[in-house]
Assembly symmetry: D2
């Protein structure tokens, strides 16, 4: 193995730059050449590659976004697209590819390896934390912190006006962000896609809050809960006659300088991905679990389901008393 490539793909996540840096520096330190692919699979398709040295990734560990740019590409979805991408990698004498992204990106990487024999290692980079095979994904910690900061701000206003705030956080299929934010934000209730409890459950909680003299309530709703924050707010207004305010946090959760946990996770996984390629591992995502690094076949990362912590879910309930 003499030369490897790295790309970021799908939605950007804070810490992707730290992962790129780790791949480049660990690769360099191991005597490999590292090629950066710009704009994910669509850039690969178009041949947007260039060599990256250790100095090229200086002073980026603290930056949000990705210096390699990213795109939600569809080029890898067709056999022709993948063949073209593989050819580019061969033209560049690339012996292995590291893909930083989420499940869409891992699909791309998986087929590239299956059909064209390019060794591929995945690094989990997505704020949603919805990949099986790792306790946390790169970007998740920062997204939680950003959402929590917004909740803290809304609580100031909510408490001053004694209002009910219904706040929607990201998570199309998973309630990880919502649950963490609910516990850390001291929310009265949380709605996540993993639990099918009816929205009417919130009515008693809200009435109870008012009865207890709570000044302002915070309800957290994951994007993927049916109806979202708007649906929950409407149910509250219809069921209790109380006024609510909806806040949909949106894209700010994707940006910003990564917090320490994301930078450390990205550094470790970036380093580990390089070692994995050198050790001959193929078609796996490198993740971090309770007792160390985990290597999971790429298809399992999207086929198997990682549940939210039921203990934490129960804790959220207990502490909103």
């Amino acid at each position: 193995m003499r030369r490897i490539a790295v790309l970021t793909s799908g939605g950007d996540a804070p810490g992707m730059n730290a992962a790129i840096r780790a791949v480049v520096r660990a690769g360099t330190q191991q005597g490999l050449e590292v090629v950066g692919v710009r704009r994910g699979f669509s850039g690969l398709h178009r041949g947007e590659l260039s060599l990256l040295g250790a100095r090229d990734v200086a002073n980026i560990i603290q930056r949000g976004g990705t210096i390699l740019l990213t795109a939600r590409s569809h080029t890898w979805r067709t056999p022709e697209g993948r063949a073209r991408g593989a050819q580019v990698l061969r033209d560049w004498d690339v012996d292995g590819l590291i893909v930083i992204g989420g499940d869409g990106s891992f699909h791309g990487g998986h087929f590239l390896q299956e059909e064209h024999g390019i060794p591929v290692i995945g690094i989990p980079g997505t704020i949603d934390n919805d990949l099986y095979g790792t306790d946390h994904t790169i970007g998740y910690f920062t997204a939680v912190e950003t959402a929590l900061d917004a909740v803290d701000k809304l609580r100031d206003t909510g408490a001053s006006h004694e209002r009910i705030f219904v706040i929607e956080v990201m998570g199309r299929h998973a309630g990880h962000i919502a649950l963490d934010v609910a516990v850390a934000g001291g929310a009265e209730e949380v709605f996540i896609p993993e639990d099918s409890k009816p929205v009417s459950d919130v009515l008693e909680i809200v009435r109870d809050s008012v009865a207890k003299g709570k000044r302002g309530s915070i309800i957290i709703v994951a994007e993927g809960y049916p109806g979202g924050a708007t649906g929950v707010a409407e149910a509250i207004e219809a069921g209790t006659g109380l006024e609510t305010r909806v806040s949909i946090l949106g894209h700010i959760q994707r940006g910003g300088s990564p917090v320490s946990s994301d930078r450390i996770l990205a550094s470790r996984l970036g380093e580990a991905a390089v070692y994995a390629l050198m050790e001959g591992r193929r078609g796996v995502m490198v993740g971090r679990g309770a007792t160390g690094l985990i290597y999971t076949p790429l298809p399992e990362t999207w086929e198997k389901r990682k549940d939210v912590s039921r203990d934490l879910y129960s804790c959220a309930k207990t502490l909103s008393v």
Copy 2:
């Protein structure tokens, strides 16, 4: 003058607590008793008053929201409501009232003084900065900072995806926040209620950006611009075929620990409001202008119009080249 009262009213703004603290401490230091009214004019109406000592306002200068709570009250809109409020103040032997809020709150204070002879001093507390008679209002600086922080985060994503972000900031009637955020955020274009330029103006700017190879564009829209961010985004998509993302920052702009400029402004104006009452000033808002404190009759604060800085507006244009 032996006893004064203070209340916060209307939308909360970061720095209101610093203003309350300044009123209580300057009053105490001058030998006055200070009464805090909870929940603005509606609380006044219901007699929610209590004495506040210097220690009661310890450790609040850094907190968002208002410890006195606030409400968007309509009680002061009727003569009966105002008579009731005046009676409560007389029952409590209050010799003067300090109202921290925006134009709605100042209306309430104005009529209270006109009809019932209660000396009233206003302190400008609103994030919108839309009051005549002061260069800045309490809460404005923090709202700009919060919005700017969001813009910086969105730029990370925007640059990584090479996307156009259309971001709506607060300002129902005024473009102050939007303009400051646009200059400080390095935005490509800004739409404010004070300028009637057509939304189609943005099309050339966006096309130009793409032609120049800019990675991602930021467009700032004040809430009060006709159509808001959604309207601008639709116009861009219809006119250029380019994809956009809309982000409406909303209520987070009201909360959070106040930045230094808001705390300092609030401290100065809170102190000055106490002195103003003691010096016999009546029915004025105390503001801070280019050369020091300004005292403006309350009606002028909402009747006269404070324009945005035209120099800054022109600067925004020049630097987006």
Copy 3:
């Protein structure tokens, strides 16, 4: 079990308020009365106790410091002091005590239980993360984030002036903060008490940095490394003739609103401590490990040693290439 008490002791740590809230709310939810002891063991000694209800701990989850106050007390060090404390707890009909703090506080709790039969549960609250029996201690994550924020700021100046910054972070006996900050801050080198490498090792690294054209270097030193940051800086100046700047971050690392990870950890452990008392556990610290909650006899928490992650230490080295 009908009534329990909770106190914070030793150095304060961000997240202690979240832990107090969790104890009070989980206790209340389980039908217990919860008594708060102010000023740690010295307050216990003096009888500074009062009942805490669920509303008394509203709106504190986001606050730094501890609403129960703390003190570095020596009262528990004498048999008389402990006897006095035990008597106060009996006078208040307290059936169990939860101690939030570090090893000094756990000593106090341990002897109270050994000598007077008061059931005691410890919750690890210290920024240093130097307790055996838990992967992380409450306050640790926030301290790392605060230190990292400072490093990011110093890097701006360091890079602009092409200077060497030697930054000292907290950790009298442990290098956990230093190591995390070094990896997340992209430092060139890190010195921790756990590794006895000579300070002269840094000379080659610094010379190498200059040779590679790195703009500015960041060296992280744990407080407990012999000589501290000043010693390392002097060694660099003596050995290379290059100018350095020393920054000792100090007490700011103890304060501030806790980050999400500390709030969540504190919420979980506060809840678990109440359940532990109810289940009849005695004299243990409740911690969180790789696979869930861990209960460790109090003496083991200070007698056994928790090493820093050797993988992370090696990663720091690799990525500074």
Copy 4:
């Protein structure tokens, strides 16, 4: 005028990048070529110049430090050094030079113009705010915010431990930062170089604080006050027997992403500096005062003295009651 140059010199300050961006973009927009000089006057001396286009300054407005690098150079102090610098500018066909920095940098610019006829305009970039001819200098607002954030954190610990914190902020000759931080941080006392009151004044304040039951005290000391924070702390311990903690904030005050006020000030002054050169102004600093832009001959900026606000100083006193 066809080509102008820009450099940053002396201590770096947040917002310098925003000023560079404004100079480059306003220049470009006016049809000028803009040359960036790296490493201030020493880089000028060595010919480290290169052309900067509008895209070269994209995405830097939010970054701390200076992309042009800076140095505390002594090359301009000798006639030979200045002659060499002037020759480089002539070789590069530069028609005017914009210097972003403090009084040392303005000395350099002044002599360059006096001796060699190079038109020079100064932009005030220093966190100390100690230049005559502008209400604020670029970087000042961010430094205050950073110091205030540290004070807020220390207050958490101070209040929890009921301790006296003596905090030293930057300001070798001026108390602007100290005064703003004291008011915004709710400090009990502030010591600045502009007031010669004896350190013993603090003793009564501290005793009084304790008597009033204040939990923890914050004392702010400007770097330039004789003895600094250490001297004040020693005086307190000697005079009252109370324990104190000293925190010297140091270089973190120079770094970090600039706050909105610094970015806006830098944008306006950068633009104005270009216009000033084009209008034929020479040897002046462009500043911003109460009623708009101000042009002050460079020597006046360091010869005349800008006092701290006496009203604010008095306010600090009143509100610490």
